[in-house]
């Protein structure tokens, strides 16, 4: 999610993140009430058209489905052989619609807007000791530091390889965790230095 957002000024980009999430929940629930294949295909055409309205390409839409194309084909084959081909196409059309709708949300919503939405919708948890600000910061930091962790892991793995150590999980995990702990101290200092107040 941290690098999927495509900047733009379309209706979808301008919509409030919370409203988009509600639309996704509504559309995702409704699509399971639809069993007519023609209607489902129309829904797929419509959601693909929404990509164009959002200034995205058909390739962007396909990228949302690409990782699961094989799974969708397997579902189609299994459903087709066990039940009917119509049911098979119905099932994969629903999944494809859901993936495209979720992808549209991700591609047109900034992480910060999503996090603000999550933060503003978690206020009801304050009485039981949950600080929404801390939750949203934790999500942001997670998204920010996933690529950093990946890089640290690669660096440690390469350092071990050049010294003759191939796959060894504990030998990899210990230096990575040590570096991440040191890094977390620095990040904590950086948050302090930039005026972060958890209260």
């Amino acid at each position: 999610m941290h690098d999927l957002y495509r900047p733009g000024n379309s209706l979808f980009h301008r919509m409030h993140a919370g409203h988009k999430v509600l639309c996704l929940v509504f559309a995702g629930s409704t699509i399971f009430l639809v069993s007519n294949l023609i209607t489902l295909i129309a829904a797929l055409v419509m959601i693909t058209f929404c990509y164009r309205l959002a200034g995205l390409s058909l390739s962007d839409a396909y990228q949302q489905l690409r990782p699961v194309v094989v799974v969708l084909l397997l579902i189609l084959i299994v459903q087709g052989l066990i039940h009917s081909w119509t049911l098979g196409f119905t099932v994969i059309a629903r999944f494809a619609f859901l993936l495209l709708a979720a992808g549209l949300l991700t591609l047109t919503t900034r992480v910060s807007d999503m996090i603000t939405t999550i933060e503003s919708n978690l206020h009801w948890l304050r009485p039981i000791g949950v600080n929404p600000g801390k939750v949203s910061l934790a999500i942001s930091l997670t998204l920010r530091f996933i690529p950093v962790m990946r890089r640290v892991t690669t660096e440690v793995r390469e350092a071990q390889k050049v010294r003759g150590l191939e796959r060894n999980l504990p030998a990899l995990a210990i230096p990575v965790i040590t570096r991440m702990l040191k890094m977390s101290d620095d990040i904590s200092d950086a948050l302090d230095a930039r005026g972060y107040d958890p209260h």
Partner: protein
């Protein structure tokens, strides 16, 4: 003005800084010293990230031990590794982080972010994930993230250590252009040639405190014969 009076700093049993007294008034001050000499701890004292065990650090009259939050508003801090300082996934969001902490409205944030992105030539990267920037761009973003909050002083802890020559020069130019007084901890002695004052640390004490040429001569001589 930053006043450091009779400061002792320890980490456990280890003495980091011993009986340190300084007044920092110049616009460009360089801090040099060998590894473990206490220079980075000294930098952290200046904005209250580290508090003295004894003595006092006053920033424009505000005691870091009594009102660290107010001191941090005055003293911006740039860390050695920008990866540890950039806390938000997207460039623009990271710049907004400090402003949001200050309670600025979204409109006010936008104005300041626009200006700083243009100033540091990062405008085209506004919506990019921070981790995809080059090392130099990350350090510029880290500096921009501090300067967008318009601190009265800027402290930098080895801002060019991880950079190549081109990016070091880029950061050097950015430092030269700063209006605020800047205190830089560095091993890059060339960076300090035009500075007003250089303080050299050795084993928690001041080895030299003079003009760049005089202080660096003392420092290099001491390190060569150590």
């Amino acid at each position: 003005m930053i006043d450091i009076t009779d400061v002792d700093l320890k980490y456990g049993d280890r003495t980091i800084l011993k009986n340190l007294s300084l007044r920092l008034t110049e616009k460009r001050i360089g801090i040099v010293g060998s590894n473990g000499s206490g220079k980075s701890s000294f930098a952290r004292l200046l904005n209250g990230l580290v508090l003295p065990d004894q003595g006092q650090v006053l920033v424009d009259g505000i005691d870091t031990a009594k009102n660290a939050k107010a001191v941090r508003r005055k003293v911006g801090f740039v860390f050695q590794n920008p990866d540890n300082q950039i806390v938000m996934p997207i460039v623009e969001e990271d710049l907004a982080f400090g402003l949001k902490n200050r309670g600025l409205s979204k409109a006010e944030q936008a104005v300041k972010i626009d200006a700083i992105l243009k100033h540091y030539d990062l405008d085209e990267h506004r919506n990019h994930p921070a981790h995809l920037l080059s090392g130099g761009q990350k350090q510029l973003l880290a500096i921009a993230g501090v300067l967008v909050m318009q601190p009265s002083y800027v402290v930098m802890d080895e801002p060019t250590t991880l950079l190549d020559l081109r990016n070091t020069m880029r950061i050097s130019r950015a430092i030269d252009a700063l209006e605020q007084p800047v205190i830089i901890v560095t091993h890059d002695l060339d960076l300090l040639s035009d500075f007003d004052r250089v303080i050299a640390f050795d084993q928690g004490r001041i080895l030299a405190d003079d003009t760049p040429s005089a202080a660096l001569k003392t420092y290099i001589t001491a390190m060569t014969h150590a």
